[in-house]
Structure formats: structure tokens, C-alpha cells
């Protein structure tokens, strides 16, 4: 009777082996499929059972987690949701996350390596494990001013303010905006309806125009032409350029004309300084053609155009497009054709001029903190290279001061010298009958820059205002933001 008992023992071992093999299949081979299956709530529940870190700026808490009494233990709450929504992003059970919530997720959920020591001590002391905090570089006053300026008039647009010496982003606004609070609701019904409303909104609200949309820069691009011209050594502010009201693009029958078809002053030629101040298209088309594609492209690249940046959200790369012939170069030189910049990129350009030509990497995260608000890591300003010589920057600043002083328009600040450039860019399929995008870029004070701003208002802020200009629509906003940044209040 022993032989069959031995065989039974072998059979039992085979059975156990079968179980282990199958478990290996389930727990190793299929493990990640099962773990990441959307119907598997475990990862989600674990995520929501930990207290997520807060997002703050200058002692103002922008996003924090509060304990709830439902199935998911913590709920995300945003103060001033619409003002900061495009930056903080949302944190939704159904729709995932965006903005800082997404870009700094590892810190906020506590899994970041830099928080390892804290996690270890949580484990030993039995403290509730929770995420680290993120402190932003934003200045709430500037942010609020910028938001109010755009929102009050119902503009779709964006404002970016940067501290030139460091690259700290002081304000980053995109309007119209959304409130991330209903998206963070634990009520799926509420989440759904908020998402549907946000997603179908026109103009869109879920995008951060400052970093994910590119717009033709129009005349603000003439700063790059001027920088290239001055850097070439062949031009000075007094160099003479054509003053013709219109020119024919080389090799085509297309004409390119100045704003309203005006001549660039009364003489046959105009100086570079005057051409920039009057923003004469023909002069800069000629200048671009003379400098050549390579010079313009090199100068644009040195200012950061074409680079992929993370702030820590990824920034859409700006571009000057494929310039295939001289005609294209002439059009590109006035910031049209395929040239497209993000508002952040345009702010970076003026910030670089303000910083003596040194490009600083823009950033939003000032500091990472432990759960007890102790600093864990402070972001050091990062130099990206030199775009122009300090002397060229100095000259450009003078030219921009000259521009600003010639602009009319509201919001001038007594006692503060601004250096600026406006832009009015055609866009769309029927540019002559579509209100242009309007820009204002600048920095102040000109002799000791504290802030650089870029303001963009989509389609002139008014669908019927074909005559909208940067000077009239965008400049007052830019000045208000500068005033706020310099501590002047609103």
C-alpha cells in the first residue's frame, strides 16, 4: 500500500506546484496589468488615504488637502481657484491631474526621493505619512492684479511676470480660467458636470495659455531683429533703414505694408531707433533680409526659442518656423508667418534684455518642504547661456525706453521708467477681418529691472475691434502688473 501513498504524495506536490506556478503568473507576469487596471481602485485609494502636501506662494495656501468622512479620506481644496487654476492644475479622481499637481506629484504624494529621510522617520515615529509641500515663486499681489486686469474686461489672454535676475515666475495668468474645486470633488456627478462644462467652454479654460499655446508675436519680434542687428556690429541705433510705406516681398507679387499703410516718418529712410519706436514693418523686413536667416535664427535660439523647458510643467517650444525663402524671412522678421511664441517665451526675451543679456531658466517651484514645512530643497537660479552682450542689452534697453515714452495709453506710472515694446499680430484664416492678437512686453525700472512682463490678449479682447493694438489694449495691463510687482498696489 506504500507505493500508491508515495504517488499520492507526488500528486500533492504537483498540485502545490501548480498553485505556485499559477500564482507566479498572476502576481508577477500579470501583476502590472492588474495593478494598473482602471477598475482596480487600490492605487487610487492608497493615493487618497495619504495627506497630500500643500501648494503655497508667499505664505498664501493655494491648494491643500482636508480630511473628509467619505470613502476617500482626503479631498483637495483650492483657494482662489480661478486665479491659480492654470498653475496648480486640478486633482481629480476621474480625470487625473494637471499643472503643478501633476508636475510635482512625487513631492506632493510623498514618494519623491528627496523626502526619503522624512518617510523613514514617519515610519519609525508612527506619524501619519503625508506628502511634501511645494512653495511657488508667485507673488500673490502680482498674480491677482494680472488676473483681475484680464478678467475684468473679459479678455482671453495671458500675463507672465518674471524676475529678470533669477527667472522666478512672479505671475502666470491664463484667462478665462477654471475652478479646480469641483473637479476635486469626491462626488462623481459633480466632477462629471464640472468637467463637461470646462471641457466644452469657448474660449477654452483648461489650457494654460502662458505655456501651452503659441501665438504670432508680431512686432514684439522686432526686439530679436534689433538684437541680431546690434550684435552683428554692422548696425547702430542710427543706422538707416527704408521708410517706404510698403514693399513687395522679394521674388513675389505680395506686398507688405506698415501699420495703416503709413510711411516710416517723413524722410526716405528712418533710423533703426525710430523704426523700432514706430514699429515699421518694411524697415524690419529689409533688416531681416539683410541680416539673413541664420543670424535671425541664431539670435532667436539664443533667447530660448525652440528649446523645451520645464518649469516644472512642460512648456510648448516656441518656433520661428521653416524659413524657406527671402519672402518668408521678410515676413518672419516682423513676427508673422510661422513665428509663434508662448507668452512665457516672450517674457523670457525681455527678462533677458533686462538681465544684461544673460538668459535665466524660468521656474515656478521656489522650495520643496517636508510635511512640517521645513525646507528640503530650494531651487537655485539656473543660467541658460548668454543671448546678447551686456552692451547690446544696454542699447536695447535705451531703445525700449524710447518706445515706451512714445506710447500713449493708460496706466503710466509716475517715477518709474519702463522699457517696452508693443505688438499687434495678424492671425487666422482671414487676417484682415479678424481682430489681431495684441502684445505688450517690457520691464521696469529700466535702470534697475525688478520685473519683466509679457501680456497677450487674444484677438484684441473684442471680436469686433479690428483696430485693436498692443499699445491700446495690452499696454495698460502690462503697466498695472509692473506697478503691482514694484509694490505699488493696484
Amino acid at each position: 500500500m506504500n507505493t500508491p501513498v508515495r504517488r499520492v504524495a507526488i500528486a500533492v506536490m504537483v498540485m502545490i506546484l501548480l498553485l505556485m506556478t499559477n500564482l507566479t503568473y498572476v502576481q508577477v507576469v500579470k501583476a502590472s496589468d492588474y495593478r494598473n487596471d482602471p477598475r482596480n481602485q487600490r492605487v487610487l485609494l492608497a493615493e487618497y488615504s495619504r495627506k497630500r502636501g500643500q501648494i503655497s506662494a508667499d505664505n498664501q495656501i493655494l491648494a491643500s488637502s482636508v480630511e473628509t468622512d467619505d470613502r476617500l479620506r482626503y479631498q483637495r481644496q483650492y483657494s482662489d481657484g480661478k486665479v491659480y487654476g492654470p498653475i496648480t492644475g486640478y486633482y481629480s479622481v476621474i480625470y487625473g491631474s494637471s499643472g503643478i499637481e501633476r508636475a510635482a506629484d512625487s513631492v506632493l504624494n510623498g514618494s519623491d526621493d528627496r523626502l526619503f529621510g522624512r518617510r523613514l522617520s514617519d515610519l519609525i515615529t508612527g506619524r501619519d505619512p503625508s506628502g511634501g509641500n511645494v512653495v511657488l515663486t508667485l507673488d500673490p499681489d502680482v498674480q491677482q492684479t494680472a488676473y483681475d486686469q484680464l478678467e475684468r474686461k473679459g479678455y482671453a489672454g495671458s500675463v507672465v511676470a518674471i524676475r529678470p535676475q533669477t527667472g522666478e515666475i512672479l505671475a502666470m495668468v491664463s484667462t478665462p480660467s477654471f475652478d479646480p474645486n469641483p473637479l476635486a470633488s469626491h462626488n462623481s456627478e459633480q466632477q462629471n458636470s464640472a468637467w463637461k462644462a470646462d471641457e466644452s467652454a469657448d474660449p477654452p479654460v483648461l489650457i494654460n495659455r502662458a505655456i501651452s499655446e503659441t501665438y504670432p508675436p508680431g512686432s514684439t519680434f522686432k526686439l530679436i531683429d534689433t538684437a541680431a542687428a546690434l550684435s552683428s556690429g554692422r548696425y547702430t541705433p542710427d543706422s538707416q533703414l527704408t521708410a517706404a510705406p510698403r514693399i513687395t516681398l522679394q521674388g513675389t507679387n505680395t506686398t507688405l505694408e506698415n501699420f495703416n499703410g503709413n510711411a516710416c516718418g517723413t524722410a526716405a529712410t528712418a533710423s533703426l531707433k525710430d523704426a523700432l519706436q514706430r514699429s515699421c514693418n518694411t524697415a524690419f523686413a529689409q533688416l531681416g533680409a539683410d541680416l539673413g536667416e541664420q543670424a535671425i535664427r541664431d539670435q532667436a535660439n539664443k533667447f530660448g526659442i525652440g528649446q523645451s523647458l520645464t518649469i516644472p510643467m512642460p512648456v510648448a517650444p516656441s518656433t520661428i518656423g521653416d524659413i524657406q525663402d527671402t519672402a518668408a524671412l521678410e515676413q518672419s522678421s516682423i513676427g508673422q508667418r510661422d513665428v509663434a511664441l508662448t507668452p512665457l517665451q516672450n517674457a523670457m526675451i525681455v527678462a533677458t534684455i533686462a538681465n544684461g543679456g544673460q538668459v535665466m531658466a524660468p521656474y515656478l517651484v521656489k522650495e520643496i518642504q517636508s510635511q512640517e514645512l521645513d525646507p528640503v530643497e530650494t531651487t537655485e537660479p539656473d543660467r541658460l547661456g548668454r543671448a546678447i552682450d551686456p552692451a547690446v542689452a544696454q542699447t536695447l534697453t535705451q531703445l525700449m525706453v524710447n518706445n515706451e515714452n512714445s506710447y500713449s495709453g493708460a496706466g503710466k506710472i509716475t517715477g518709474v521708467q519702463i522699457a517696452a515694446k508693443t505688438g499687434t499680430a495678424e492671425h487666422g484664416n482671414d487676417p484682415k477681418n479678424t481682430p489681431p492678437h495684441v502684445w505688450y512686453v517690457g520691464f521696469a525700472p529700466a535702470d534697475n529691472p525688478q520685473v519683466a512682463v509679457a501680456v497677450l490678449v487674444e484677438s484684441g479682447g473684442d471680436p469686433n475691434d479690428l483696430a485693436a493694438t498692443g499699445g491700446a489694449v495690452a499696454a495698460p495691463i502690462g503697466r498695472a502688473v509692473i506697478r503691482a510687482a514694484l509694490g505699488g498696489g493696484q
Binding site: M1, R6, A9, V12, I16, Q27, A31, Q41, A46
Partner: protein
């Protein structure tokens, strides 16, 4: 039948004291207590409970309980296998920790939803553990020689069948829980008589087969190199098969049905040593499967869930789908005791104990648990090899294989190896009947292993006529 098994071994020349292994048992029990206490501390830490000295007392109480069992073994079966009780203690302890852990999750959940905290299951399970250990000691005390059980074979058989059939015949209000009519509900206490019937029927079949072994071994016709049994000898197989089908029809209990048929088939094979019985049995089994598939809607549903649990995830596939998610999330290392969400799986503390353990202990933990089971089962089968009487061999094989098959059915079901059937993991799962019955089962295994390992001279050398020697077993034949 191999001749050496029938002969008594010659008595050792010098009866030097044989090692009983009781010391090893005690050390291993202490080791199990350390492991279980450690597991409990981990659960409390991960569930953010206060770590107090109470945990140490719980660990000591557990050790105390099993030390008492150990002394009972020392007293009543000193030569019993020293590995069996520690294996059981460790499994039982891990089960208690997991049930406590799931209690904490349920309480958390209830508090979060603003409901009253549910009754903790752990209290009942601890009580059942105590009752189980009492029965364990009682069986060791009452059954001094396992061969006496053979005398009560028919009593055991009838009682077993009655217990098995009772829930099926009772009105559903008294016997049905979650669709399976396998319970007897007596006020607050529910008993699953099938668990006890399992042991009784193994006793009956072992005795019956030993008695009629020659009959079944008689050769019938030869067929492809195999000797087929005579048609009239198929009766016990038919009985087993009929019983299983009966369970299935009356009680909708696929697992128990499969378990009984498997155990009885293996007993028949061991008793007759003829592979043909296995083949015929498997044919019967396959026939039964086809029949059941066509006749019973719930069997069809089970098979469909098994083939694709995610086809109807929110409905019938929810349990197994959640169990797979739990196992997958646990992965190789597991989330750590108390750090996962095993409570998301319905019946996490009973039918799906495997996925609960797999989620938090990972593949490594499950493999360790399966190895503990394997040790327990192989020690049982070893006793079957070593014990001198045929009834003991059959009984030990049946009991040990019963545990193995039950684990295979329930663990295979919960991990989608085979269709899901409701059974408990012995010693690990929540459930009083299963726990208490399995303690009785282990007591019998210990008793047999004692008989296998005890030095022979303890039996009085009654002068017997030489002719009686050949038929030692017949002396024990039930009268």
C-alpha cells in the same frame, strides 16, 4: 498488496528511549508564536493603531494555548509527529491576524461612512480556536488507538451521510447562506456539517475499503494492459459519485462535491493499488462535469466567470476580479501586512483568504504558506507510510490528501486556476466548523503518527498462534 506492510516489525533488541520530538515541537511552537506576534505588530503598525504591551500578551496567550495543546500531545501521544502541530499553530495564528486585520478595515470603513462599527469577527474565531483545541485534546484523549475507529465505520458512515445530506433536506431558511445550502443554522451559531462529514466519511471509507480490499482487487478483464475491476465492484465508486452529485443537486455546493469525490477516489486507488480505478473515476468525474454543466445554470456561470472574470466585472465576475486585482497589486513582495486593501474583495476573510494574504504578503508570503501546508500534508502522508496497519495508512492518506485537495480547490479557485467553488482554507479562513473539524482531523493525524513512531514493545506480547500473524488486521475487524 505488498507483503512487508502486513507483517509486524521485529521489536528493537534494546528498547533505548526513542526521541519523541516533543522538545522540537515546543521550540517550533514558540517560533510560530514569535512569527504570529510579529505579524500582529506589523498589522497594528500599518493600520496606525497604538503599539502597546497588550500585543505581547496576545502573543503570549496564543503561545499558552498551543503549549497546552502541546502538553496534551505529550501526555496522550508522546511519539506524535513534532512538525504537524507547529504548522497548524502557525497557519491558525496567521489566519487570526488576518481576520483581525480585516476587522480593522471594516471598522474603518464603517466609521468613514458614519455607520456603527460592525461586530468584530476575531472574537468568534478566537473562541472557535479554543473550541477546536479542546476537541483536539478530546480526540487525542478518547481515541487512544486509531484502529478502534474502524469498529465504528458504519456508524461513522451513516452519520457522515446524514450530516452531509441534512442541510440539503432542511428548508432553505435554516440552511442557506449566500446561495449554498450547506449550513445548519441554530440561532446565532451556524454550523457547516459537511466539514465534519468529511472526516467521518474518510473513516468509513478507509475501514470499508480495508475490509473489502480483496474484493475490489480481484481482476476483471484486461484492457490495454490494464486490469479493469469487475462491474459489480464498481459499487463504492458509484456510491461516492452519487453522493457528490447529490451534494451538488441538493446543496449547490460544487467545492464539497469535488472534494468528496477526489478523496474517495484516492482512497480507492491506495487501497487497491490499481490505476484503473483512477481512470474510471476520472471518466466518471468528467461525465459528471459535462452533466453538471448542462444541467445546472450556476455551474455554467461559474465556468464562464472562470474563463473571463472581467467580462462581467461589476456583476458575477466581481469577486474573482477583485481577488486578482488584490493578488496583482501585492505582486512579489506584497504591500505589507495591514498596508493593502484586502477588504475590497468580498468574503476576504473566508473564501478569499488567499487573495487577502497574497495582497499583503505577496507571492513570497503565499509560497511560504503553501510550503507550510505542504509540510503538514507530507508529514501526514509520511505517517501513512510508516504506520503498520492498513486502516491507519488509508485513514492518514485520506485525511492528509483531504487537506491538500481542499487547498487546491479553494486556492486554485481564488487565483483563477480552476473555476471558483466555495471552500475554506484550512486553519486560515474564518469559519468555526472548518476550524474545529480540522483540529479533529489533525488530532487523528497525530494519533496515527504516534502509532507509526512509537516503539513497538508497548503492545503486550500476547502469545498468538503463528497463523494469526498473517492476518493481524483481521483482529481489528469491526464486529
Amino acid at each position: 498488496m505488498a507483503a512487508p506492510d502486513l507483517r509486524s516489525e521485529p521489536a528493537p533488541a534494546a528498547p533505548a528511549p526513542l526521541p519523541t520530538g516533543r522538545g522540537i515541537e515546543l521550540v517550533l511552537l514558540a517560533f510560530a508564536a514569535v512569527l504570529v506576534t510579529g505579524a500582529l505588530v506589523l498589522v497594528e503598525a500599518n493600520q496606525e493603531q497604538e503599539l502597546t504591551r497588550v500585543l505581547l500578551f496576545v502573543g503570549l496567550a496564543y503561545l499558552g494555548l498551543f503549549t497546552a495543546a502541546h502538553f496534551a500531545v505529550r501526555r496522550f501521544a508522546p511519539y506524535a509527529d513534532p512538525l504537524i502541530l507547529p504548522c497548524v499553530a502557525l497557519l491558525n495564528g496567521l489566519g487570526l491576524v488576518m481576520i483581525h486585520r480585516l476587522d480593522l478595515a471594516e471598522i474603518d470603513q464603517a466609521l468613514a461612512l458614519g455607520r456603527d462599527a460592525p461586530t468584530e469577527l476575531i472574537g468568534r474565531q478566537v473562541a472557535w480556536t479554543a473550541i477546536g483545541l479542546l476537541l483536539f485534546v478530546a480526540v487525542l484523549w478518547a481515541v487512544r488507538d486509531h484502529r478502534t475507529l474502524a469498529r465504528y465505520a458504519y456508524t461513522a458512515g451513516f452519520t457522515g451521510i446524514a450530516l452531509l445530506a441534512l442541510p440539503g433536506l432542511l428548508p432553505s431558511s435554516l440552511s442557506e447562506v449566500n446561495g449554498a445550502k450547506i449550513w445548519i443554522r441554530l440561532g446565532p451559531v451556524s454550523i457547516q456539517p459537511g466539514e465534519f462529514a468529511k472526516i467521518l466519511l474518510i473513516i468509513f471509507f478507509a475501514a470499508f475499503l480495508v475490509q473489502k480490499r480483496d474484493l475490489f482487487s480481484t481482476a476483471g478483464r484486461r484492457f490495454i494492459g490494464m486490469e479493469l475491476p469487475r462491474a459489480r465492484d464498481l459499487a463504492p465508486l458509484l456510491l461516492a459519485w452519487g453522493m457528490s452529485v447529490g451534494v451538488l443537486v441538493l446543496e449547490s455546493d460544487l467545492g464539497t462535491s469535488l472534494l468528496f469525490f477526489g478523496i474517495l477516489l484516492v482512497l480507492l486507488y491506495v487501497a487497491t493499488e490499481r490505476v484503473s480505478w483512477m481512470l474510471i473515476g476520472i471518466t466518471f468525474f468528467l461525465g459528471g462535469c459535462v452533466l453538471a454543466y448542462h444541467l445546472f445554470a450556476h455551474v455554467r456561470v461559474r465556468v464562464q466567470i472562470w474563463l473571463d472574470p472581467f467580462a462581467d466585472f461589476s456583476g458575477s465576475g466581481f469577486q474573482i476580479g477583485q481577488a486578482l486585482f488584490g493578488l496583482g497589486t501585492g505582486g512579489v513582495g506584497g504591500t505589507g501586512l495591514g498596508a493593502g486593501r484586502p477588504d475590497l474583495v468580498p468574503f476576504a476573510e473566508s473564501d478569499f483568504m488567499l487573495s487577502s494574504l497574497g495582497e499583503e504578503l505577496g507571492l513570497i508570503g503565499l509560497a511560504a504558506i503553501l510550503v507550510i501546508y505542504l509540510v503538514l500534508i507530507t508529514r501526514g502522508l509520511r505517517s501513512a507510510l510508516a504506520v503498520r496497519d492498513s486502516f491507519g495508512k488509508l485513514l492518514a492518506t485520506g485525511l492528509a490528501f483531504g487537506i491538500a485537495l481542499q487547498i487546491f480547490i479553494v486556492a486554485g479557485g481564488a487565483s483563477k486556476l480552476i473555476p471558483l467553488t466555495g471552500l475554506t482554507l484550512p486553519f486560515l479562513s474564518y469559519g468555526g466548523s472548518s476550524l474545529v473539524a480540522n483540529y479533529a482531523l489533525v488530532a487523528l493525524l497525530l494519533r496515527i503518527s504516534h502509532a507509526a513512531r512509537a516503539p513497538l514493545p508497548r503492545r503486550p506480547a500476547v502469545p498468538l498462534p503463528p497463523i494469526a500473524e498473517a492476518g493481524t488486521e483481521l483482529v481489528e475487524r469491526p464486529r
